[in-house]
Structure formats: C-alpha cells, structure tokens
Symmetry: D2
Subunit: 378 residues, 4 copies
C-alpha cells in the first residue's frame, strides 16, 4: 500500500509523491491524518526563509486517528490514557524534547522550547529515508511514541478544533509570558480585567484573543486590515477592533488604543502581525510598566527602527516568545475545551480544506489570506 | 435631622442609636447607604475577638448614593469620574491607605495592605465624636474624600452586586496570590486550566469560585457542609462539590480531591473555611509544588497541628493573604461586571436584608449561616 | 546672607548666581552641600535634550550636612533616626513620590518611579521663586522634609561615597530588574553565579559591576573604550574586560562574549553605554532565555535597527529600567556599606571636584569623559 | 580485587562488607572515593525513618577520582569537559533525573526535584545485585555516566570542599526559594541587603549562611545551641548569633530577632534545625510579607501547632524546599569557588574523618553533633 504526501523537494518546489506504508516499529504508531493546518511557517519554508534539510513533508499542526500501534506504545499517552486503534490524537511536533544533553535541557529545564537539538515533524525532519512520513500534509504520519508526545483528543472535541492544538499552544504561551509576577498583582501585566491589544488577528492572533477572553481579560482590542478577520476577532471575544483601513498611520492607531484605555495604554500588547513595524508601534501602545509580547516573528523579514529611550522611559518588558514546551499541549487542549463550552466559534476557524494533492494550491490560497486557517485533509 | 445607626457599644452589646447628621466638610461627602453586607469580621467584632476602640458603627461592605458632596471632592473619584449627588458609589473601607510613613508604606509599596496605621471604616474607627458616621450599618456614612478611595459603581450594576465589591476584593486577591511566576508557566500555580479547590463556600469562598471561573480555572472543587452553599457554588462555576456530610473525614475528602485530579492533588487550594483544621487538610489536598492560600483566618480561633515534613516534602507554597490594596476595588468591580456578563448569579448572593433597627437580629441570623450574604439596609 | 548656586538659565547657558538664604519653614530643613555629582542627565539638560521649566539649579546627586532644621522635621528621617544639625544626609531627589493620585500611584503601587507628577530636585523644579534652592550645584539645598525622603548617611561612610547613593540606586534597580522568578531559579536570569555583561562602564556601569559583584555574580564582563574605566571596572569586580579599541566591531565583541561564556551568551546584559547601537549588540550578547536591561537611555539620541525575529527566537526579556522607587536609596546605602567592607574602591569613583563657581568648566570636563565621576563642591 | 563498603543491612544494623570490583560497562565509570560526607538523612536511614529497600551502601555526598571509564562516557561530563582517569569528580546522587514520564517530568519541567521515580545513590538503590557499588561509604562508587550527572571539580578546589557540593546544592536552592519576584524588588523577599535568619547552623545551615553572604545579604542572624557551630557561623558570614543557651524561650529569641531588625522581623527565615517547633518560632521571626523557607525536615519527626491566623495576618510565604534539580550542582560548585575566593572557611567544615571500616562509629559520632561535617574516607 502506498501513502500519498506533499513533499517540499526544494525551495519553491512542492510536489505530491507516494511513499510505501511503513511497518510500525517498537513503541511507535501510524496515524491516519484527519486534518493538518497550514501555518505561516510552512509558507516561509516554501520560500526558503528557514534553513532545513530538504526534502520534507510539511505540516506540523495535525490531528488524526491511530491506524496501527505497537503494543508497547499503548501506555505511552501523555495524560495516562490507554491508546487504541481509532483513537483521535494530536502530537507535539517538536520531537525528542528534551534531548537532555544540551545547555538548555541541562541547565534551564523550565525552557524545553529552547532545546538546541529540537527536531520538528513537518519542519526539519527529512523524508528521504524510511519511514519517510515525518510531516502532516500526508495521508499518514509515523509517530515514534517512545520519544514523542502523543495526546488523546478529549471526548467530543471535533477534529477541526483539535487541529488547533498546536497554534493554541503558541497563543497560550504568549499569554502566559504576559503574566507578571508581583504581589499584589493589581495592575501589573496580565490578569483579571487587564487590557490586551492583539496586533494582527490571523489564526494565532485570533487564538490569542480567545485565550485572553478565557483568562479574564477586561478589554481586548484587535488590530488588522482584513474585515473577515476583525469580525471573527469580535466573535472570539474582542471588545474593540482597529481597522487598518480606517486608522491608516501608527500614530492614529496608537491614539485609538490610548482613547480606549483611558489615556494610559494597554497592559499587554501581543505582536502577531509578523510585520517588523508592528514592534515599535506595539511598544508605543503598551502602557508604562506594561508588557509587549513578540510572538509574530518566527522568521526574519528584516530589521526595524526602535528607540532605546522609549524602552528605558516606559520601564516596560519586551518579551520574546519562541514556540512552547511540550506540556503546553495539555494547556492548549484544555483551552479549546473551555472555548467550546463558552461558545467561542472555534469550529469555524478552519475555513477551507484542500486534499493532499492540492497542497500547492492550498499554499497559494493561504498566502493570499482569503480564509482564516486553511487545512490539508486526505 | 438625625441619622439612625447600629452601634457596638461594648463586646456583645449592639444597640441602635441616633446621631446628628454631620455637616459635610472640605473634600468630604455624605453617602446614603443602600446596602451594607455583614461579614464574618463583624461577628468576630461583636464577640470581642478583635481589639478595637469601642463604640463603633459596624459595617465595611457598603454601597450607597451621594447625598451631599463638597465641591472640592467632586473630582476625587479614583477612576477619574466626576462625582455628583445621586451617584452610586462604593468606598474602600481601609482609610488613609497609605499612611506613607510606616515601614510597609515606605519600603514595601507593593503591599499597602500591610500599612501599620491602617484605619478601617466599620472596624476600628470610633463613632464617639463627630462626624460619628464611620461605619455602614447606618442610614448614612461620612466619607472624607480627600483621603479615602471612592469608586463610582459602573453604569447598570445593581446595588446588591456593587455591595459585593469588598468581599470580591478579598477573593480576587486570594486568586492573585495563587498566580505563580515561572516561564513557561505550564502547570505551575494558577493559570488557564488549573485545578482549584475552595474550602468553605460562604460568600468569600463563593466569590473565589466565581473569580477562578472568570480567570480560566479548568476544574473547580467546592467543599462545604451546607447544601444551599454547595448548590450556589455549582451555579458560580464549581465543577465538583465535596459535601462534608458525605465525606466525613479529612482522609475521605483528600482522597476525593485526588480522585478528581488524576491522583495528583490540586494546583491551588484556597482556605475560606476559617476552621483551623482546614489548614493541614488543605495542605494534603495541594499537589507537590502547588499553592495553598490562607485567606480564611482574619481572626484567631487557635492553633492546629501541622507536619513540617509535609511542607518540606511537598515543596509547596503556603501563602497568607491579608486584606487587599485599595486598587483591588478596581479589579473587584471589573470582576463583578464580567461575572454579570457571564451570567453568574451574583444578584442572588445577598439572600436576606434587615433594616438598621434589626441589626442585632441580622447578626444572629448571619451567625446561624442560614442564608448566604446578609445585608443591612436602611 | 547669600547662597551661591549654578543656574541653568536657558539651554546652553549656565551661570553662577547668588540667592537669599531662605527661612526654614514647617517640616523643612536647609542642607549645606558637601558634594554633588554630575550626571549624564545634567549634560542632557544643558543641551536641551529634556524639556524642563528653566531656570533650574542642576544637581540631583547630593550629600550634605543639616544646617538648620524645623523641630517638626527632626523625626521625619526615613529609617527612623532622629535628625540634628550637622548630620550628614542624602535625599531622594524625586520629590512628592508618591503623588497618590495619578494612575501609577493609584493602581501600580509597585512602581512609584512611574508617578506622573514626579518632580525632581535638580531636574525639573524651577528656581525662580523662593526658596529657590531646589538643586545640588549650590552651597545649600532646601528640603521640605514633610514630603521628601531624607536618609541619614550611615556612621563612618565618607561623603564621597554617600554622594554615590543616587547612581547606586539606579544601578541596583537595574540589577534587580535582572532577577528572574522561576523555581528553581537555576540558570534563569540573575542569581548566584550568573554571567553579567555591562556595556559601558562610566559611573552607572561601574556601580552595576560593583552591585553584581556584591550580589554573587559568577562572571562579570565590562565593555568600554576608555582604559581608565576598564581598569576601574576590574577593581570593582569585573572578571573580564572587552576594550572597544581591540574589539572594533559588534561581531568581534559578541564573539568574545560567547567565548567567555562557553558559547552560550550572557545570562544578563546591562546597557549603560547610552549609545543606541548598544541595544542590538547587547541583544546579540544575551543568551537565549536571558535578560537584557536597558538603563542607559534616559534621554533620546535617536533610533536604531533591531530584528524582531531575534527577540522572538531568543525568547528573551528586554526590560526598560526607569529611575527607581524612593525606597531604593535604602538598598543603595546598604550596597555602598557592603562595598566598602568588601574593599571595593568606591572612594575613588569621584576623581575630580570643582567649586560651584566653576560649574561650567566642570560640565565641559565631564563631557570629555576624562575622569570618572565629577563632583561640584562648595 | 575486592571493594570495601559500609552496608546498611537492616534498620539499625550497619556492617562493613567486601564486594567484587565491577567491570565498567557501556557509558559508565568507576570512581575511587576520596571523601563522602555523613548527612542527617543517613542517620534517619539508619533508624528506619525513611522507607527504602535495604540493603544499601549509604552515602550521597561523595567526591572522588575516576579510576576507570568507558570511552563513550568520556564526553558525558555535564559542563562539556573531557573526562579522564584521575579526574576529580562529583556526581548528583539523584539519578535518572528526569524520568521523563511522571507527572512532574512531563508537566512541571521546572521541578525535576519532584520526579516521582527519583532514585538516589546512597539512599534508595539496593546494593544486593551487581554492580553493587551504589553508595558513597565505600572505596568505589559505580556511576552509569549515560544517565547520571557527573561534574568535574574545578581546578584547584580541594576534595574536602568539593565534598560539600551536595549540601551546598540544598542550601543554595533554599536561598533561591527566598527570592521574591516583584518589581521593583526593594524590600521584597531576599535580595541585596536583606535580613536573613538561619535557624540551626549544622552543615546545611552553615552553607546557607555562606550562600546568603555571597548573595549580598545585609544582615545574617544564626541561631543554635552549640558554641562551635555559632563560632563557625560567624566565620561563614553571620553578623549576629542567638545562642539557645542564653535565649531560652521562643519569645526571647523572637524578641531578639525583632531587636536586631528594627522591630520589623526578618525578610527571610530559613529553617535548618529539623525540629518541629522551629516552624512556628520561625514564622514569628518572619516580618509581615516576608518568606519562611522549610528545608530542615527531610524526615518526619512529627507535627507541631501552628496558628493559621498568623499566616493570614502576616501575609507571608511559607515555602517548602525539597532537594534540588540536578543543575543545582553547577550553582553549588560555583558558590564553593566564590566562597573560597572570598576567604570563607569552607575547608574547615569537615572536622572529622573516619575510614570505611569505622562507619558505625562515624555515624554515632555524627549523631552526637560534636564536630561539624563528618566524612567517610577510604
């Protein structure tokens, strides 16, 4: 039997190929993909903005059902569930976290996201050799359960919501970076009643809005240029939106944030736009003593001018946020469950589906930012 | 014109008296009380368990309308609103926070709740001399707006909810003590998806349940012996209840918390029972590395046995929580607004109202714990 | 009797004038200046880079003896000492901290340094009207002890060390910003054994080196272009120096920091150079997950290019640090005492003294960066 | 060739036995012990106060030289050093940290000390089967370098200081628990200039004094009943001592701490006495808003009465402290280096040495608390 998968052969060259279905080895499983989201990272990979060993099968936001599983792997689910054929699962793509021997694994155990030997399914694992199936834009993904973090999807959660686990892990960690210790916490960083600005409400930004809402933000302000995104942001919990078509300059947008926050600025600003100029603009939107979270630049579109004096004068925290620890999936799944219960329109985040064969079209479509989250589905 | 007020003349002697209506001095205002809650502290005061200079007019959880206000006080509202006659307001009872000269005001500005010169309306301010009206079980309260923290109640919030601002300040601070810094925060202390146990769901415990719900707790477990409290806890957001009538021993209750938390214990336990034995029991319910918050012992019912080894072995944080900074009222009002919006039954927390003349009966009724929050209303 | 003082009449115009000696009012004192340091801020004021209402008497780093004191002020020393004529004192120049009514004083009590109504002796208090003497480049300073923070200098501390209290407050707060919570703290932020880079070892940088040494830094690396500063940095506790004359490019300096830190980068980098390009360079020197403290830009010399991707990828904290709370003087005095005991050459930091009449020459000399700390002394 | 080791055969029965010298397997090494300290835990093990599978070879604080090493293990030193025969090393006794599969390893990566599958050399690893040598009271220890944390001792550090690495790891983590986040940190928890009380200055307490000194404590107060300990505490950096023979009641000792802290109480109190009554006494010594660290109860000598009201009223943090993460050894070695450089009498902490044959006598001697740290040396 053969398995169809999209393969990034070289920068700018995405093809569809057939691979032999692998034997399931010790402590491993084979997952039949239900859905795999397309992420900005995939677009960057296509354009060669991240150095990885090609060819790869892209796709790291996948959910699927266990097709075959080694007996020894049945007990390896992260939360202690027993695994069986047919179970809907999601898998942390960052594998072998922790390597256990790099500087970060040894000395900074709080930050497994910084492991220097991090290998990520769908990103930097070559598909050249068997078992090949190391990415989600495929009919099947091969998961070595001995080392990888497999989570069973909670009862009743539909696959199109479970497929958001990975981006929700990114978004919830961004929010958690915004927590500011300090007792009493009144008015410091993010907590109950805080004002949060989300710059850019693509999927990551929308999930930041949702997470902020679930965590008790008082006022959420979403900024974007696209109407369908702004509308969805409102449904996810944004109290106000700032439309870049109406507020055309950074000065106007900063003034609007000030107006909406009683002249003070936002407690927390989360940069999800991925545009360098969002950094200085977001710093201006942050109130003195507030927090700015930089989550939108997983690749490098270049530099931007920043005034060191403003950082100093504002006494602010500018916090980079890179990926997430594997335990974040637990938090993300819980957030998705809570979001469903609270009536957030999480089911509607995946707006378009393409079969594996149409992966190149799907990528182009995603680049045009017409829908929200685009998914590959066998 | 005379003003009727309940007066604690001596330990165990609560009477009703008439005072002359005071002239409103510079930067002051006279508030007509709408509602004033009865708090456990009032009961302790009545029984002489707190040393304060009697006589006092009890009552520190009050909400009311401005009857008369000095022109200079009109601009002194904390959030910048203009004050006028008829405005519904709530006032931080801890006055003169900060004194600005004690050790804590000088060196620990983060903890204005520890001010050594804290004087509290309705608690330790004698009513012997004019303007007399320094407590809420009265038709009027005299507020020196120059030093006190006056908040205008948000548009549309009914008085019976605004009257919960003070206990909600206590409860939200307890939750904030449970935030645990640490990056990534996954699994540490309280955050999105955490498991929270609330021991004792009287009014403070119920508001802890509500606040935990609003802040994104994953699982909330409420413990009490009274059915009407447990039912209300469920409506406030508790996922599970433990009835002391069914789980009769600490061992059974600890086992039930373990069962509900996958054998691990709770991330956060908040002690709102005010019973010494809740301390060691709550410590047993806290998972290793978790947080236990002690908010229930504003007076001293005596000691209890604790094993230092368990504290050491569990690597836990046991955090005392005393009152709140005056800025907490802002957070509390926001939490109440969010709770109303989320459909929490906050309007039903005040179950019984007594006129000022019946303050002694109200106190006895409150002691019997028949209702939830009991209020005095002129 | 007349009092001689240097007066900044207009941007670029510093004169020497005589003022009438003021009467000492209620809760006030008159201090005879012993020494007043020249700070970078003074140079910026001279060149009009900070908008303040002129004329002013510059000088905010002063130490002196009580010449005359109102009886009611004798008990107002911050630490509880009784004040008498002849006592050596130092005074927090940021007066009326806290105003008690601005957003920060009300809602962010942890950050009195952000008070929106902060008035600073020697910076933004006009000397036009009596009592005129609101700055340290003068024979006398007038201190309203009712509102200001007066500290008695510890027994045995010489005035030339006590004059460093204000810059040491700046430097210790920078170090404290570098503490990173997280349990266990091993390897996170600054703590015992951490690696600290100080960019620019003028007086603030040198005191950062000293504070880092006293707090248990493991490896301290000082960067500067001036030999006498680098030599002093070594005597203050730097383990390594990077001379900009030898390491001429940012790349070379970053490589040297990496070499000295086993290829990882520094746990903490403190920017004390005040040169915009130090920001991106310092970010490159910070290890992933580390902390960069921006303390060197109290004025605005313009923008610099920064890569948002690096902030994101490094998962770092970039923390602005503006001034300090008034309680910081207590910490600073303690640090100076400990530094003296540890044999740090704090007495030698003031390298040159000029009388008030020569204030213009002193300013020019300071600008040439020939000495270390330059002081005005009557 | 045979290896002589002390064996705890059963509770209360310590013998000396000969084992065959093991072959060195893959990624393993054989260490010739230079010194192994006796810890309170060893005494508890002897008396059966900890449930472990006997027989064991006690001893977890060991330092020694590599006798034989597998080639594959040469590159496995934690800090990246190459390992060779003759190298002086110290080893984290808590092996297989992290297991990677328990609740704590998965979800609380910051707390590897809470790993539920923690196996500790010299504590709970049976010596019944080959390679037998799983404890430090022996001529040799067998170290499986593939899983264990091996640190090369820094150049020039004598074995009698390197043997303190394990207790120094305990002590430095206690101090780190005392760091309190909060910006600005002035006056919160432990930082530069803080007041620290150490209850009980046996070896752990003495190393807490040393660590507090190195980290910039302002005032250190040591409490004990034994003169030679109090004298050593002074030499390690204590500013004041409280002799239990002179201050006979808790009230007298609390009053003395208050006197030494200006009536406020200590910022941080570290309980190293291991006596239950030290818990309530230490809580009384802690200032409001301060931190109490419970590090002294690794076994359970029973309960003690505590007043929940005091915890509540003081708004304090009571923090349990269990063991340390394996990365703490790096911090501990650095602290020992810094202590040597600062002239602390670390070489004198080991006061008595006994050969392996005399392990039973050594244990009895240690129980009498005549010396400070007692060591076994082949």
């Amino acid at each position: 039997m053969m398995v169809r998968a999209a393969v990034l052969k070289a920068v700018g060259r995405l093809t569809v190929e057939d691979f032999p279905r692998p034997m399931v080895g010790s402590k491993a499983l084979l997952m039949r993909v239900e859905l795999c989201g397309i992420c900005g990272t995939d677009i960057h990979l296509y354009h060669g903005r991240l150095r990885v060993p090609l060819p790869i099968i892209p796709g790291h936001e996948f959910v699927g059902r266990i097709e075959e599983i080694d007996d020894e792997a049945r007990s390896l689910e992260v939360l202690g569930h027993e695994l069986s054929e047919g179970d809907l699962i999601t898998v942390v793509p960052g594998t072998n976290a922790f390597c256990g021997t790099c500087y970060y694994c040894r000395f900074i155990p709080q930050r497994p996201n910084l492991c220097q030997n991090r290998r990520v399914l769908g990103v930097n694992m070559s598909c050249q050799h068997p078992p090949h199936l190391y990415g989600g834009w495929s009919e099947y993904v091969y998961v070595d359960a001995g080392h990888w973090w497999v989570y069973k999807v909670p009862e009743g959660m539909p696959p199109e919501v479970a497929a958001l686990t990975e981006p929700m892990a990114v978004s919830t960690r961004a929010l958690e970076r915004a927590f500011k210790p300090g007792l009493p916490t009144s008015g410091e960083g993010f907590s109950l009643g805080s004002t949060v600005v989300v710059q850019g409400v693509g999927p990551i930004g929308l999930l930041c809005v949702a997470a902020a809402r679930l965590m008790g933000a008082g006022t959420i302000i979403a900024i974007d240029a696209l109407d369908h995104r702004l509308r969805m942001a409102e449904r996810m919990g944004a109290d106000h939106t700032i439309d870049l078509k109406a507020y055309r300059t950074p000065e106007e947008r900063v003034a609007e944030v000030e107006r909406l926050t009683g002249g003070v600025g936002a407690d927390v600003v989360i940069e999800c736009a991925g545009v360098p100029s969002a950094l200085p603009e977001g710093i201006m939107m942050t109130r003195r003593g507030g927090r700015f979270i930089e989550i939108g630049h997983f690749t490098d579109p270049g530099p931007i001018e920043v005034r060191p004096h403003i950082i100093c004068w504002k006494d602010i925290d500018i916090l980079g946020c890179w990926a997430y620890p594997p335990a974040q999936f637990r938090r993300a799944l819980k957030a998705l469950e809570m979001g469903l219960e609270a009536g957030l329109p999480l089911r509607e985040l995946i707006t378009d589906r393409f079969p594996v064969e149409k992966a190149p079209e799907a990528l182009r479509y995603a680049e045009q930012r017409k829908g929200l989250k685009i998914a590959i589905t066998p």
